[in-house]
């Protein structure tokens, strides 16, 4: 599988433009990005046209809106960041598109709809919108819908707030399409999409005495088919699978996935690098994938004591953990993603590298998202990091890696081999080569 670049959006080097999440919708027609400034930008795939086959499937900006604004919590004297932490699409049920976006404290349901007609010929107001004096109206007419330029508007339909004391790290829509969960460091809340003034707390790991706190929840996701099952990962490197039918409060897990720590690799930073930053069910629902600082692991839901597969993302960083701790890079939260058929998994790394692992052939590749390498329709060349000894011509040495260029967020089209990769301010979209 060889990827070529299809489009690259960029913006000025502003901190608020840093992309903080990317997500394809369930058909792959739309791609949403959220940024640190609280904005959501939605891209739409161009319809394939016979006359211009080479422009197959390029993504163009469809809608842009301000989802969240910075807020101030007066009680705690804390500023609430407007940064969009996660976006999740709802499956399409009518002409409009719906997505959930969240910052640290509030989840919002947005409706994105098209308007290509507008009514004209009102009686009580004229074309400019000015109210007419009723005494001047001598006849009545029926307003008629006239075509207009396509306008895409986003409206906030629901605001789910005041349910989280800690920072929301993930949201997940249930397969029943009626409920969703929002997760913070210590609690998971279940919401109904229609009801904003009430939510159910289904997981609470806050200890009675905060000084006894040993782990936090880092991510949670609903099972793709079983509407009663969800999984959540912890900072201790474990995953718990819970069944909501068992009890109202799912403090008792059904399954507990954890790999025992290898004592020979113990270091000052063992706890940090074992903290799971992302958990994703496979599309089939049979597997779970987790990302910690140095590895990606695939778990079989039937086997709790160890992962099915472990992939090293950038093991050459193991000797650099102290420096990475000093510059805070060790706290970076990388995401991971499945392809549509669950045969390939992808995750990001530093120096704008991202890695793909083919689960069947056991082959892996390192690619780079950069301007130089991404002329439109250019084929991406595999990259290699030189670990030690003699560095070959095309290789890059570990010490030359740019740790400020990190790829934390990636997403894969649900059916095709199209990927979107967020590299700080820039979004790269790559497609599989078409013969």
């Amino acid at each position: 599988m060889m990827f070529k670049s299809a489009a690259a959006e960029s913006s000025n080097k502003q901190k608020s433009d840093i992309i903080s999440t990317v997500e394809f919708n369930s058909s792959g027609e739309l791609l949403a990005t959220g940024d640190k400034g609280g904005r959501v930008v939605v891209f739409q795939r161009e319809q394939e046209s016979k006359s211009q086959p080479q422009r197959r499937g390029e993504y163009n900006v469809y809608s842009t809106f301000q989802s969240h604004e910075p807020e101030f919590d007066y009680l705690k004297s804390l500023e609430i960041e407007e940064k969009i932490n996660k976006i999740k699409w709802l499956p399409q049920q009518n002409a409009a598109y719906f997505l959930l976006s969240t910052n640290d404290k509030t989840v919002k349901l947005w409706k994105i709809s098209e308007r290509d007609k507008r009514p004209e010929g009102y009686n009580l107001k004229d074309e400019d919108g000015r109210i007419r004096d009723p005494s001047t109206i001598t006849s009545l007419r029926v307003p008629v819908l006239q075509p207009m330029d396509l306008m895409v508007e986003a409206t906030a339909r629901r605001v789910f707030s005041n349910a989280h004391t800690y920072h929301i790290n993930s949201i997940s829509v249930n397969s029943d399409l009626q409920t969703f969960i929002s997760t913070d460091d210590l609690r998971i809340n279940l919401w109904n999409l229609e009801i904003t003034d009430r939510s159910f707390n289904i997981v609470d790991i806050k200890p009675a005495n905060m000084e006894e706190l040993t782990e936090v929840i880092t991510s949670a996701e609903f099972h793709p088919q079983e509407c009663n099952t969800f999984a959540y990962s912890s900072s201790k490197g474990s995953i718990r699978l819970c069944d909501m039918r068992q009890a109202a409060l799912c403090d008792k897990h059904c399954k507990y996935f954890e790999e025992p720590e290898d004592p020979s690799t113990r270091s000052f930073f063992s706890e940090i690098i074992s903290s799971i930053s992302d958990v994703k069910f496979s599309h089939s629902g049979r597997y779970l994938m987790t990302r910690d600082y140095l590895t990606v692991k695939v778990w079989d839901l039937q086997m709790e004591n160890k992962p099915l597969e472990t992939y090293q993302v950038h093991d050459y960083l193991r000797g650099k953990l102290c420096s990475l701790y000093e510059n805070d890079c060790i706290f970076d939260k990388f995401e991971c993603v499945w392809n549509g058929s669950d045969s390939v998994i992808m995750t990001g790394s530093y120096n704008n590298f991202f890695r793909m692992f083919d689960r069947n052939t056991k082959r892996d590749v390192t690619l780079e998202a950069s301007r130089e390498n991404s002329k439109p329709r250019a084929i991406l060349k595999p990259r290699k990091v030189c670990v030690g000894g003699k560095r070959r011509k095309d290789e890059i040495s570990v010490d030359s890696l740019d740790f400020s260029k990190k790829i934390l967020h990636t997403t894969w089209h649900p059916h095709e081999n199209i990927i979107a990769v967020a590299a700080t301010n820039n979004l790269y979209i790559f497609q599989d080569k078409v013969n």
Binding site: L78, E211, V216
Partner: protein, 293 residues
Amino acid sequence: MISTMECAVDAQSLISISLMKIHNSRTQRGGIKLHKNLLVSYVLRNARQVYIKEKYAEIYRMQQYEEVMTVCNEIQELNPLDLEAEDAEDEEQARAACCAEEASACGSPCHRGAAHCRAAGTVAGCSLLEDGCKEPEPSYYRSCCMEAPPAPLCEQCPANSSAHCNKTTVLDLDTHVVTTVENGYLHQDCCCDALQCGQSAQSPAKKRKVEFGCCASDAEEAHDFTAARKRAKREDCSYSAPDYTDTSNISNLISIFGSGFSGLLSRQADLEQICSKQALASLGAWTRAIVAF
């Protein structure tokens, strides 16, 4: 960019860096990140464990060294020429003296006969204690007696204990001024220097006021943190103080965190007793502030 030099994975520097991170997180936009602070506290705990082990071994070596010195002096007085006979007698004591957690310090692993030695070694986590003792050279014991035992892990030179300096570094969370009290003299130091101390061998006698420009102290009126607005002890970098042997200040700091994150610690009550006698209640508030919401 990460420098090509491998940074010193030293317990003391990690403690300093971690404390700095915790302090900075208080003024970060968006509020305290619970997850990140929890992970930092784990590093702090790990560094603390290593540090306590090292310090305890140091204390132990000091004690044994002094005992051996006394014994050796007595031997020298009795019969300075007849070394063979005395060596056999003193082997037990000398072995105990030379026995330290780090075999490299003594040059060879020693078998501890003394009960207190074994107990100390167990507490310090020394796994070398099980090894059989190689027969050391008589001259080796002499060198052990005559010179200070080498301390590869601790830069401090115990022989100069008479010139040790007593240092306490205090960070005032209200005015954000770092003050170092050294041998009774007051210095104003820079917190940030802790990271660079390893490279520069200067003594921390600079008088500089720390500007925490990012601190919005007015905004920090949340009641959870009023308890934290007390003087917090901070470990100053001891690289520039080779004579530092007073362990109580470092131990106190470590004991602060020991009380604050009891859930993170394995039961090391015996180590705590050896290292710290200070009441922790008043200082526990500082650690509670980190996790209190």
